[in-house]
């Protein structure tokens, strides 16, 4: 496994750049209520920020006050490294790094949960009762109203492509997106989008022509958009964008109506979990109507439970955006994402496409255009 783990480590470094800009070791601790049975405890490792996790944990702890509940917020990288070195430390792993969670389950590191709630969970949002998707977060574009006012609505990838092709000059350097070479999430989206349509490569070429800025996190993109450095952000994590842009009416969140990837956070119970019963209770809660209601109402994450229909639920988003929503499938295709050669091949292609069209910018072109 030496070579494999070396590859894995390199990969984790990349995935570690995804999402949460969490500090080294943030924890939440809910001690068991006095007088309850000693020894009943639950350790959750998650790559999910405390503000989003707190309402969930509080609500769960209200239902099970006898549990000594400890949540440790880690980066996806730290979460996986910690799991690989101590597979019997955590009772539940929550992570947005879908390929890695899938790989762990695929290799048999997860424990199956066959509760009634698990059986009723939609088949597309779980894998073998070992892996449960509990959030529903579309990948969105953010467009400054100035662009819309000047060039018209941007509703889809096709609109964006047309806009870039027509007004590349004007938008030069004002577009921002993930750098697939250094961001795991960006790479995952690139691989999924390239599978969805070959026109993705035209979009990459157009982004290259417009000299799009490449960054590593949604946070950086939002920062630049709010500051006005960028007019268009492409492929942002919708849940974060909604939260940050709530009081920026000039920045419009666009869920593309031709297709919009939907990423999901995955929960699993490690096979060597020290408190499997408590872990099962937590997952049951996470996918229960109560837990999902908390997700829909108190977090920007998006609830999957089919019985919930209000704002912030998958049902609601589907009703708004129809078939355009494409949840990333919990399928072996995710394993291809982790293949080192595949990654090199895709990134090589991506770079090639990004550089395909001649640069028009600031006389920097070698051809002096």
């Amino acid at each position: 496994m030496n070579r494999l783990s070396r590859l894995a480590r390199r990969w984790l470094l990349l995935l570690g750049l995804v999402g949460s800009p969490a500090g080294a070791d943030e924890t939440l601790h809910y001690p068991a209520s006095p007088g309850s049975r000693p020894g009943a405890s639950l350790v959750i490792h998650g790559a999910l920020d405390l503000p989003q996790m707190r309402p969930l944990l509080e609500s769960f702890h209200r239902e099970h006050p006898g549990l000594d509940l400890r949540y440790r917020n880690l980066t996806t990288l730290a979460l996986h490294e910690r799991f690989l070195t101590a597979p019997d430390e955590a009772d539940v792993l929550l992570s947005s790094a879908m390929p890695w969670q899938y790989r762990l389950a695929n290799e048999g590191h997860a424990r199956a949960l066959e509760s009634p709630a698990a059986r009723h969970w939609p088949a597309w949002a779980r894998w073998r009762y070992e892996l449960f998707a509990f959030t529903f977060e579309p990948i969105v574009m953010v467009v400054n109203m100035a662009v819309i006012e000047r060039y018209g609505e941007v509703r889809s990838h096709a609109d964006l492509l047309a806009l870039l092709e027509r007004h590349a000059q004007a938008l030069q350097g004002r577009i921002v997106t993930y750098d697939p070479a250094s961001s795991g999430a960006g790479y995952t989206y690139a691989i999924e989008e390239s599978r969805l349509s070959p026109r993705y490569w035209d979009l990459v070429a157009a982004l290259g022509e417009a000299e799009a800025e490449l960054v590593n996190t949604t946070g950086e993109m939002l920062e630049g958009l709010i500051e006005g450095r960028y007019l268009i952000g492409y492929n942002l994590l919708g849940s974060y964008a909604r939260e940050r842009l709530a009081d920026h009416p000039r920045l419009r969140i666009v869920v593309p109506d031709d297709y919009a990837l939907v990423t999901q956070r995955l929960a699993l119970i490690p096979r060597h979990s020290p408190h499997p019963a408590a872990a099962e209770r937590f997952i049951d809660y996470l996918i229960s109507e109560a837990g999902q209601t908390v997700i829909a109402q108190d977090t920007p994450l998006g609830a999957i439970h089919p019985a919930l229909t209000g704002p912030g639920t998958a049902v609601h988003m589907r009703r708004q955006h129809g078939d355009a929503l494409r949840p990333i499938a919990l399928a072996p295709g995710l394993l291809a994402t982790l293949d080192a050669l595949k990654r090199e091949a895709l990134l090589a292609r991506w770079r090639r496409e990004f550089m395909r069209r001649p640069r028009r910018l600031r006389g920097a072109s070698p051809h002096g255009l």
Partner: protein, 457 residues
Amino acid sequence: MTRGDSLYRRLLGLLLLPLLGLGSLFLIQAWGDAQRTANRAFDRLLEAASLAIAEQVQWQDDRLWLDLPPAALEMLATDAEERVFYSLVDGQGRLITGNAELPGDPRQGLEGSDTLLYRHIAWQGLSLRQGTRRTRLEDWGVREPFEVRVAHSREGRDALAAELWHANLAMILAMAALATVGLLLAIRAALTPLTRLRRAIRARDPRTLSPLELSLPRELAELRDTVNELLARMRRVRANQERFIGDASHQLRTPLAGLSARAELALRQDDPARWKEALVAMQATSVRTARLAGQLLSLTRLANPEYRPARAPLELNAIARQAVRDHWASCQRQGVDLGVEASGGDVWIRGIDWLLAEAIGNLIDNACRYGGHCVTVQVENAPPRLVVEDNGPGIPEARRLLMLRPFHRDHDELEGSGLGLAIVDGIARTHGARLQLSAGHDGGGLRVALQFPGDTP
């Protein structure tokens, strides 16, 4: 026979047992078939996936290169959500890429061409089916061999095999149930004639000996015919008994009537000399009658098939000499020449001495009574044989067998009961000997021979 033994159960057992065995064989076969079919169907996935991967293998930057198609991995997972593993290995067995270091397949494929090997493996506690494709690059200048190994867990194939097997199981069980019901009905139907036969026998009057009239299948018809033969024999025996009783009563009534008449006649007279004369005559008649009764008794006893007296080793020459000595005086009185021709050595048989003496006595008596003047008792060896020959008129061949029947006399006018030869016949049968009637050695007279079984013991 135990109480539980019955033809019905025996047939059912004997037929159900092979049926059960056959059914089990079918089930095992169906299980194997289901496994094979499921494996074949799912091995196609391994084949397609490994091919899809192998097609993407290239030579780039002086090394093997793979642009892994995600669809190749998706192919390996069905609705059963199998775990999926793949690896690309170069000619030296080094891992190029993959999500698991799958073991190589030690088997040799066909040399030089694209080969695909399937097998079950246990990998890190998982039970997997692995497909190994050995092939080589067919690039312009490069002929690099490589191996694509794909594997997936077995939930899908196990589920398909179980489904196929359950379908077969249901069919085989239904067939077995139908066969059992059919068997029950068939055996019941086949045994109906037996019930009819039993009812027919039970319904009969115990005194009737008339044959059973019943149409039956061949096997039972044989039984019916055997029973009918037995009944016919019983009818003949009963007819014989009735005639014998009639004859015997008749034979005894005549001398008793004579005695009665003689006594009555004597009582009318007063002369003691007459009385004495009558008493002498009556004594002679009663002696004859007593002898007749004795003969009837021994005949009845001999005719009883249950009568098995113990037999002892006997020497025939001695028996013959003793018999001649016993009868010599009475023969002499009647002017008959009685002689014995003993065999050279001792002739031993197993028998009852008094019965044989009775037989010889009867034969000598008959010979004297029916006009023989010269009676010879002979003993022959190998086979042991006792012969009484006379030079009387003899019996025509056609009537000889009749003589063996009780109360049959060749000449009614002659004195005698007609039981002699019948008794000899009975004695012969008691000894297991054959009674032969033939003409004397010079063509006249009668020669009666008892041929005993076996040689001298």
